[in-house]
């Protein structure tokens, strides 16, 4: 009798066990990555979110508590609102410029014969090999009155008097664009590489002039890449603080700069944390919007 029942239930038990395993498998497979993400990204952000509700008194970094003051302050703080506007403008313009340059560059590499490819990619990798600080030092030799740019312009006869572009918004834009360009380039190149070049010939074959082909075929096929490259560049430009404050004018106050000031200058950790949380949410919103605008198309193209 006992043998009989065990014979009956054995397949059932095995099936149940297999079902459980099938349900658990994806989670188990994700576990290492999930663990790292939670430990290194989730926890610090949670900690920062908690910090942003703490109180601040002089001589102390923070006092444990729960207040919305730090967020309320942002609504009334002219400096913060100005910085928010400046940051968005800076990030928006530099990202658009970066995407345009990166797009043209990636398209060139895609269209050119294979033998050029490695050289172009090496060129694009160069900025990534140097730290942001070293790059800033480089610009310090490039933009000032006795810098390379001024020297080149004067000796080529384009201008007569030496000029300095150091500590201008232009310098800040150039600096930001330079840092974000390689990322944009590689994102866009990977998108271009996924396109069958024959579609360009097919378009021409069916009677479409080059510009029309760009508009009808290439642009729609690279839309997702443009959005991804823009998002990447925008996030970097919004969050970075060293480049715009080192190259831009003293009045160029970005949110990154304000956070740094609150954190290191005024030792107001809760306020700095609140700024950071708002910045993080803003960036996340941009990501969500960009994804929402592009996901339908990319899903269909596979």
């Amino acid at each position: 009798m006992s043998i009989g029942t065990s014979e009956m239930s054995a397949p059932d038990a095995a099936r149940r066990k297999a079902g459980l395993r099938a349900r658990l498998a994806p989670w188990l497979l994700m576990a290492p990555a999930l663990l790292i993400a939670v430990a290194f990204f989730g926890l610090p952000i949670a900690f920062m979110a908690r910090m942003s509700f703490n109180e601040h008194i002089d001589q102390r970094f923070y006092v444990p508590g729960f207040t919305f003051d730090n967020y309320a302050a942002m609504l009334t703080d002219q400096t913060f609102r100005g910085a928010l506007f400046t940051t968005m403008r800076l990030a928006l313009i530099s990202s658009v410029v970066t995407v345009v340059i990166g797009y043209a560059f990636a398209m060139l590499v895609w269209l050119k014969p294979k033998r050029w490819r490695l050289a172009f990619i090496a060129l694009a990798l160069c900025p990534l090999l140097i730290s942001e600080i070293s790059i800033i030092f480089g610009w310090w030799m490039f933009f000032p009155k006795n810098g390379l740019l001024s020297y080149a312009l004067v000796s080529s006869g384009l201008i007569t008097d030496k000029i300095s572009l150091m500590y201008t918004e232009f310098a800040a834009f150039v600096g930001l664009t330079y840092v974000t360009l390689p990322f944009c380039f590689f994102i866009l190149l990977s998108i271009f590489d996924g396109i069958d070049k024959k579609v360009l010939e097919a378009s021409a074959d069916l009677g479409s002039a080059p510009l029309r082909t760009f508009y009808e075929v290439l642009l729609p096929l690279t839309k997702g890449g443009i959005a991804a490259a823009f998002a990447q560049s925008f996030i970097w430009a919004v969050g970075t603080y060293a480049t715009p404050s080192a190259l831009g004018p003293d009045t160029l106050w970005t949110i990154g700069y304000l956070i740094q000031e609150q954190m290191l200058g005024k030792h107001n950790w809760p306020r700095a944390a609140a700024f950071s949380i708002v910045l993080t949410i803003g960036v996340a919103l941009v990501m969500v919007i960009v994804r929402a605008l592009t996901s339908k198309r990319t899903a269909l193209n596979g």
Binding site: D196, K198, V199, G207, S208, V217, R297
Partner: protein, 347 residues
Amino acid sequence: MADMNALELDSVRRAYGGVVAVDNVSIDVKRGEFVTLLGPSGSGKTSTLRLIGGFERPDAGAIRINGIRIDHLPAYQRDTTTIFQSGALFPHKTVAENVAYGLRMRGVAKADIAPRVKQALEVVRLSGYEQRYPAQLSGGQKQRVALARAMVVRPAILLFDEPLSALDLSLRLQLRAEIKRLHEEIGFSAIYVTHDQGEAMAMSSRIAVMRGGRIEQIDRPEKVFGEPANEFVYTFIGESCCLKARIVAGGAADSDGEPIDLRLSNPPGDGAWRLYIRPSRMHLGRADMPNGLKARLDFTEFLGDVHRYHFKAAKLELFVDHPGAVAHRPGDLVDIGWQTADMIAYQ
């Protein structure tokens, strides 16, 4: 003029660096004619097609469509459309949008586009697939869309760039028959590039066999098969066995000098020869035919309709196709016979 050629290539030449890809090629395609460029890879057939389509410019020579010279025009101003090997459908456009593309680019009135797209999809038997995206189609369906997209604009000449070579065999045969049917129904003019001689034979009004950028022979399929212009055409079209033999008065030997038992009723003369016979034209156990060779059976392959018998005579290797099995076993010495007209000799 009714008898004007749809397409004329006049001594067209194109070199890449030092390599001449298309060498003095002249072809006339009459209205409604289906001309195939057949050749191994690197023979210049695809380069020739790209010159016609406008993706490359010739270094010399003239290309005329309906009598008007067009070799200076870019692809988008030529009245040609191509069916690419990969299909090259626009992945972000639906089937209907793909087919409508050429009509839109040619400024066809909006009201006329929809019915023409509908009709083109009916012709390639894809009605009801209008709203699908290329990623949702099978390989054969994609090529049908490509065909509809190219045909719908009614170009002066359709260019086929190995459109079937990426498909599996049964689909290839099926689409081949459909293209043939469409050609007979609609009567479009076409240049068809392929390395598949079966495709070329089945579909073409005429075949141009190419090698090294040159046309070796251009003629009707039966002529190219039955009366090849030279050794290359003979060996490229259809299967053949080659006997490399040294013939001296009264005897024959293989190219290494070992004697072979070869009997020719009309020997081509003394010297080293390459004798070709189609494997289906050789007969087993026939010592009574005008020409013959004694050879040892090596092994047998079963090919479905026929058995293929592989023989060795000294260093020579040859195979004979025979319907049904024979009683010979490997190692047996067998008489192989053939008619004089079925043999062709090159020196």
